[in-house]
Point group: C2
Chain length 146, copies 2
């Protein structure tokens, strides 16, 4: 069951500049940053609020680190902006299977590793009203490093 | 101070069909619906979670009700997808003034009425890394009808 807006993924050309925009304009601070080689992105997570399922909602700022990454291709086509949205669940495997059974294309056969050791998958935007939609299960607290 | 992701605004051509997609796929239910004549939209708010500032995070599904509305023009150019993101604050007037002082264009001279009697304004997407960004102060509980 999806229990929170986990994050909004925002694609940018210059991560440092975008982090500074969000800090200077709104006071949002970087909670965590990492490079995800598989996704081909450098990212910063800005924690905005906690949620009543024990999780949190973040902005995820994404800069591509290689030209063949999906985010690089998306930026070349669309320019900077909202790239995807993500819902949090305690069980990404079960929700992905359930949603696949309903006829929505799930992009990964098995969840992959996302921000902060989470397990993630994506749903095809053409099956979701134009919205690239991610499902996220956070890492257990003991294995989360930030 | 911005204290939550208040909502993600998603533009669609057919509100009823999109509401049904979110219900059937994820189990999200309509919390509130209304027509905002000034904005030229029919909308449904799906509550996803509560937030630690006493508010909540929603998906806001938007269908234009007239061809000259900004959402209708946006859909004609972009197709369906994420139209804007919104941050919640206890004082939209103060935050809008503060952000304007930082050189970000605020689209309304004074906040207007948004979903569920909230007071809202928007920041120019060209000043916000391509992200149309809304600021929202919820209506007091006693005047909120849904």
């Amino acid at each position: 069951m999806l229990t929170r807006i986990d994050h909004i993924g925002i694609a940018c050309f210059d991560l440092d500049k975008t982090v500074e925009f969000y800090r200077a304009t709104y006071g949002f601070e970087v909670y965590h940053s990492e490079v995800n080689e598989e996704q081909g992105v450098r990212e910063a997570m800005l924690k905005i609020n906690s949620t009543d399922d024990g999780g949190a909602s973040y902005l995820q700022l994404l800069e591509p680190v290689r030209e063949d990454s999906t985010v690089a291709k998306w930026l070349a086509k669309n320019g900077e902006g909202v790239h995807h949205i993500a819902f949090g669940t305690a069980d990404v495997d079960a929700d992905a299977a359930d949603i696949k059974d309903k006829g929505v294309r799930v992009l990964y056969p098995e969840p992959r590793i996302g921000s902060m050791g989470s397990r993630i998958t994506f749903l095809h935007p053409k099956d979701c009203g134009g919205v690239l939609t991610e499902l996220v299960t956070s890492a257990p607290p003991e294995s989360s490093e930030h």
